[in-house]
Structures are given as structure tokens and as C-alpha cells.
């Protein structure tokens, strides 16, 4: 069954240590990705560039602008002289928010009609837009209540809703992204390296040489899987280490449990790598196919966008991606200290997916080699 396994593993390890590209792909690129993604995918909104048209220019209007400034959300960069200037500042991208205070604002504050403040928002970035909008509205309500009750800001509210975050108390986005990133990196590298390892034998012509040797298919397949399984596990630990080191993402739960579930997950990506290698004839084709699987895995797995808010068809597609379950497991163990009793269903699904993908790979492998 496993004839030739030892020989293949022996050779694979020589090639891994000798080929700088493999080591760069497995160790260096993930760390760079971690840093780039970790810093770039940051959904915390702060210091939104803001322009102001203050037609009132009274102590009241300046007090109002100070309240805006104090939120830390609006960074008032400058003042414009007309409504058209305010609009063009947003159209040109100079500012994302424009605040227009009408003349007579100070007077109307104590009058019968409500004082109308216009807040122009660039809607093209929906995260910025929704945050700046809701904060502006909240601010308006707060200040109205204060005005009506005439009380100090601290004692103004009748109902005070105070949320308390159980996990990730600082709401740092690194805590949300880094665990998912570990999963995506592990997925990409193991899938890519296995398919490369096999396709390169086709390109070299050595696959034909192997096919006339007594190496069995099982020996060849396992010989191509095991080295990259080990490499993937080492890589995950390196990435986890750097995640703690750079982003202070501590593993709250059990590391051995995480390793075990990662092992289960890696069989799916190795299976996909094997399947790709039975279709692709060149390493370039293998790479393109890997990215075709990688793209939905990044966008739909819940790594970036929460699955709960996906349209139903997309939600079902995301349910077919192994990464979806592994990202869930990673967040569970790393952030919520979840144990097996909470993660058994994800683990079960990943086991089934891994077995299914390996079975498909085995059947296809039989057809193409020899």
C-alpha cells in the first residue's frame, strides 16, 4: 500500500530545505501578511477628515463643534465659506464629513423651532459613513436633552445603557482578524505547497519516472502530504507566536486543542491541494486554481465580514468552505477560551470534509498518474 513512502519523504525534505522559495512561502510571507493584514484591516474609525461651514459663529455654535471634536471621531481640518465649497470638499475627497451650522443657530437653540444642523457624509465608505452618522445623531439627541433639562451632561439621561464586552474588551480589531488570518495563511500555504510538489514532478518529467518505479499511489500521495502537514503545523505556530508578539493576541484557551483541530483542518487543504494537482499541468495553473479557492475563503469565511449578515445564498456557500469552520475554531479557542464541548460540531464538519476531499483526491490521483 505505502511502498516507496520513506523514499518520497526523504526526497521531499531535502527539496524543502534546499529550495529557498518554499521556506519563504511558508515562513516569511505569512509573517509579512500578518503585519500587513493586521494593521490594514482595521475597522476602528477615528479622525475622520471634517470640514465646517459655520454660518452662525457664536459661542453656542463653537461649543457644538467642540462636542463633535471631543468624540475623537471627527477631525476638523478647516473651515469653508460657502455651501458649495463644503460640497466640493467632499466630492474631491478632501473631507469625508461636512458640518453646516446655519446662521441664527444660537438664537434658535432657545426658540420654538428646532435648530437644523446639516451633516454631509461621504457614503462611499459605508463603515465610516454609518459611524459618523450615528455618532452625529446621538450627539444631537444628547445635546437636545441637556438643553431641555438644563442639567449638566453627566446627569442628563433617564435611561443609561451601559454595554460591557465579555471578550476583547478594548474591541481591538486585531483580536478579530489575527485568529482568522492564521487560518487563511495555513490554508493557502498547505494547499499551494502540496499542489506545487506534485505538479513540479509533472513538469520535470519525474512523475513518469516514478510511475515506472514500484512506488505505490498511496506511498506517493502520503509522501507528498506528510512533509507539508508538518511544515503547515510549524508555520501555524510561528504565525501564532508573532501574533502574540506583535499584536498582543494571547491564546486564551488550550493550545494543544488548537493544534489538534488545526491538524484536522489541514487535511482538507491538503486534499484540495492534491485535487488541484490532478487537474493542473503547470505550477502556474496550480497557483491560479488555488487562488480561485482562496478568494471565496477570504471573503466568505467570516474572516473579514460576519457571516450573520450575509445574504442566504452566500451564507450557504460559506458553509461549504473548510476555512469558515477553522476561523470559528480559532476565534473560539484564542478569544473565548472555548473547549471541545463548544467546538465539537465544527470539528466534526472539518473531519468529514477532510475525509471527503482526500477520498476524491485518491480517486482522481489513480486516473492521472500511471
Amino acid at each position: 500500500m505505502m511502498r516507496g513512502l520513506g523514499g518520497i519523504i526523504y526526497k521531499e525534505f531535502i527539496q524543502i530545505t534546499r529550495n529557498p522559495a518554499t521556506l519563504v512561502i511558508t515562513l516569511l510571507i505569512p509573517i509579512i501578511q500578518l503585519i500587513i493584514f493586521g494593521y490594514a484591516i482595521d475597522t476602528e474609525v477615528r479622525n475622520v477628515r471634517t470640514q465646517v461651514l459655520d454660518l452662525d459663529n457664536t459661542p453656542q455654535s463653537r461649543e457644538f463643534l467642540n462636542r463633535f471634536r471631543a468624540t475623537g471621531l471627527y477631525d476638523i481640518r478647516g473651515y469653508v465659506a460657502s455651501a458649495s465649497e463644503l460640497e466640493s470638499a467632499i466630492v474631491s475627497g478632501q473631507a469625508s464629513v461636512g458640518i453646516q451650522i446655519p446662521s441664527g443657530y444660537g438664537r434658535e437653540l432657545s426658540g420654538k423651532r428646532p435648530a437644523e444642523i446639516l451633516v454631509l457624509i461621504d457614503g462611499s465608505n459605508n463603515t465610516i459613513a454609518s459611524q459618523t452618522m450615528s455618532t452625529a445623531q446621538t450627539l444631537g439627541i444628547r445635546m437636545s436633552i441637556e438643553q431641555l433639562s438644563g442639567s449638566s451632561p453627566e446627569r442628563s439621561l433617564l435611561i443609561d445603557v451601559r454595554p460591557r464586552f465579555l471578550f476583547n474588551p478594548a474591541l481591538r480589531s486585531a483580536n478579530f482578524f489575527v485568529p482568522g488570518l492564521v487560518g487563511v495563511i495555513l490554508f493557502l500555504v498547505t494547499m499551494l505547497l502540496t499542489s506545487f510538489a506534485i505538479v513540479s514532478e509533472k513538469e520535470l518529467g519525474t512523475m513518469e519516472q516514478l510511475a515506472v518505479s514500484p512506488v505505490s499511489r498511496g506511498g506517493l500521495m502520503l509522501g507528498k502530504i506528510l512533509p507539508y502537514l508538518l511544515l503547515g503545523m510549524i508555520q501555524m505556530n510561528v504565525v501564532l507566536f508573532f501574533a502574540q508578539f506583535i499584536f498582543k493576541v494571547e491564546i486564551a484557551g488550550s493550545l494543544p486543542l488548537l493544534e489538534l483541530l488545526a491538524l484536522v483542518f489541514v487535511f482538507s487543504s491538503l486534499g484540495l491541494g492534491l485535487i488541484i494537482s490532478t487537474i493542473a499541468k503547470t505550477q502556474l495553473q496550480a497557483m491560479l486554481m488555488s487562488f480561485m479557492i482562496l478568494l471565496p475563503s477570504i471573503l466568505l469565511s467570516g474572516f473579514i465580514f460576519p457571516r450573520e449578515s450575509m445574504p442566504l445564498p452566500i451564507y450557504w456557500i460559506s458553509a461549504l468552505l473548510p476555512v469558515t469552520y477553522f476561523v470559528e475554531i480559532l476565534r473560539g479557542v484564542i478569544l473565548r477560551s472555548a473547549g471541545m464541548e463548544a467546538l465539537w460540531d465544527e470539528a466534526l464538519i472539518l473531519t468529514c470534509m477532510g475525509l471527503l476531499l482526500l477520498a476524491i483526491a485518491t480517486v482522481r490521483f489513480r486516473k492521472t498518474v500511471g
Binding site: 516507496g4 518520497i8 526526497k11 518529467g205 513518469e208 519516472q209 518505479s213
Partner: protein, 316 residues
């Protein structure tokens, strides 16, 4: 496993291979005796490699069967694989591994076990690879790459070797050395199946097969092929003349009725003339060159029979 010692080492029985609607090999049959060097010739794309792949068990023939030492190439592929060595036409070793590592790898996948080092030492010695064992295979020159490929294919001491264009693209000295080594192997009883485009290599083989447009056109020893009546028509004779630096009037000779196959081999003019042209007439036509009766070369054999096959194909 292997049945009889005196049966053919390689046997092809009506081998046919179709890729979709295209027939790459059509009804090819031949036997190769143990210890024989069998030369397999034919233009590019005529089906040589496909025949080898079927005999090695890499491809399942559409029709017919191949046998190695009495074992069926497709049904007993596993036993066949242990008894054959195969050198494909493309260099197929790992360029990033050293000579030593390549040998060690192939030794392991053939399950040599405790005999690994003994066998590695033996092939390194046989092919004089010792100075290169620590060199990366990718850094070797063409001739040394072929030696390494041969060494890898010989590790498990196969009794039958398939060599697909082993001398393509290597220099004449390396070519000579490789052939010396092939003779040595044949002397030890290894059966060799070699494809080539070189006529001088064909001359060195015990027997030859010539495949053209997927069919086997000719089969026999070099002398048998040269004596084939189709090569030399009844009334015609082959002539040759030493040139000694004289520029022969090739165009004039070629246009002459009754003369054909005018070729120059190094310092010798070579042609076929029928009864319409006598020996003195030849001398006159060729501006005083002295002709003597000669024999067809292997190239003549292949060129004439290919032409004949072309004619038959056009007017069935």
C-alpha cells in the same frame, strides 16, 4: 515470475494505441531476444515513445499486448516494473538534488534496503560518477546527466532496459562512451531497447525496427535490411566514388534518367543507378570520378522504404 530463460525478453504482439480518434501506434509486433541490443528508429511523432510506454506499463494498449520476460505489461505491471529500467527521452532527475541524493532516492523507492549502499557504489563505479557525487544534478553537463540517469535506472539491476533517445543532444565523445557502456551491459545479458535518430548508432545494434506513421515498416539485422530487395530494385546497383576534394556535379547527376539517391557521405559520393546507366557513363557524367560497386547504407534503406510507403499511401 519470469517464465522461461529462452523466451523473448521483450515481446510486442499487435500493439495498437489510439488517443481519441488519432492512432499513434498501429499493429506493431516484434520480439527481442535476451542480451540483444534492439534499435528502434523512426521520424519524430512516429510512435516510438508510445510503444515504449506501453511495454513499460505506463499506457494500457488499445489493442494487442506487450510482454517483458513473459509477464504482461499491463496485467502484471507491478512485476514488470521491478524487472525493467527506463530512461525517458526527457531528462527526468531532480536538478536540486545531488548525484548522491538522486541515487539514494531511486534506491529507496525501489526498496533496495540494506543493499542500497552496495548498489550505489557499484553504479557510481561502473559509470565513473565518483568525482561528481556531491554535485547538484542540474549542474552536470548533458553527457553526465545521461550517465546519472542511466545509473539511477540500473540501481535495481533490471534485466531489460528501455532507453528513449539516450544520446539526443550529447557530444560525440559522451555518445561513444555511452555506447561502450551499453555493449558492456548487453555482454552481461541485459536486454536493451534503444531509440535513436543516428545511423551510426543503428549500425551498432543487433537488430533494428523502423516505424513510420505508427506502423512498423521494417524489422531485421542491419545486413538483412540492406539486402532487402525493395531497397535495391532488380536491375539497379549501388555505386560509390572517392571525392578527394573534387566538387561533384550533384545537380547534373540527380537530373539524369536512371540515377537516384545521390548523397555525399564525408569524402564519398554515393548513388543508385539502374541498367540504363553503365559504370563508364557514370564516370563521364561525374567528370572523371572513379566509381566502384557499393552497398546501400542504412540511411538509403530508410529513405527508400519511407518513399515507397509514401507512394503506396497516396495511391492505394
Amino acid at each position: 515470475m519470469a517464465r522461461t530463460a529462452d523466451g523473448p525478453a521483450i515481446s510486442a504482439a499487435a500493439l495498437t494505441m489510439r488517443f481519441g480518434s488519432f492512432t499513434a501506434v498501429q499493429d506493431v509486433s516484434f520480439d527481442v531476444s535476451p542480451g540483444e541490443i534492439f534499435g528502434f528508429l523512426g521520424p519524430n511523432g512516429s510512435g516510438k515513445s508510445t510503444v515504449i510506454r506501453m511495454l513499460c506499463g505506463l499506457l494500457r494498449p488499445s489493442e494487442g499486448s506487450g510482454h517483458i520476460l513473459g509477464m504482461d505489461s499491463s496485467r502484471e505491471a507491478e512485476s514488470v516494473k521491478r524487472s525493467i529500467g527506463y530512461m525517458s527521452q526527457k531528462f527526468s532527475l531532480y536538478p536540486d538534488l545531488t548525484v548522491h541524493e538522486n541515487l539514494s532516492f531511486y534506491g529507496r523507492i525501489y526498496g533496495l534496503g540494506r543493499r542500497l549502499h552496495e548498489r550505489m557504489d557499484a553504479v557510481v563505479k561502473q559509470l565513473h560518477l565518483a568525482p561528481y557525487v556531491q554535485r547538484r544534478a542540474g549542474a552536470l553537463s548533458g553527457g553526465w546527466k545521461q550517465r546519472l540517469a542511466l545509473a539511477c535506472a540500473l540501481l535495481h539491476e533490471p534485466r531489460v532496459m528501455f532507453l528513449d533517445e539516450p544520446t539526443a543532444g550529447i557530444d560525440p565523445v559522451a555518445r561513444r562512451e555511452l555506447w561502450d557502456f551499453l555493449y558492456e551491459l548487453a555482454g552481461r545479458g541485459v536486454t536493451l531497447f534503444v531509440t535513436t535518430h543516428y545511423m551510426d548508432e543503428a549500425e551498432r545494434c543487433n537488430r533494428l525496427g523502423y516505424i513510420y506513421l505508427s506502423r512498423m515498416l521494417l524489422l531485421g539485422t542491419p545486413d538483412e535490411l540492406k539486402a532487402d530487395p525493395r531497397v535495391t530494385p532488380d536491375s539497379a546497383r549501388w555505386y560509390e566514388a572517392g571525392l578527394d576534394g573534387v566538387e561533384p556535379p550533384l545537380e547534373k547527376l540527380g537530373k539524369q534518367e536512371g540515377i537516384s539517391d545521390v548523397t555525399v557521405f564525408g569524402n564519398t559520393l554515393h548513388l543508385l543507378a539502374d541498367s540504363r546507366v553503365s559504370q563508364p557513363q557514370l564516370t563521364e557524367l561525374a567528370g572523371g570520378l572513379e566509381f566502384r560497386e557499393g552497398a546501400p547504407t542504412l540511411e538509403d534503406v530508410f529513405v527508400r522504404l519511407t518513399r515507397l510507403a509514401e507512394q503506396q499511401r497516396r495511391q492505394p
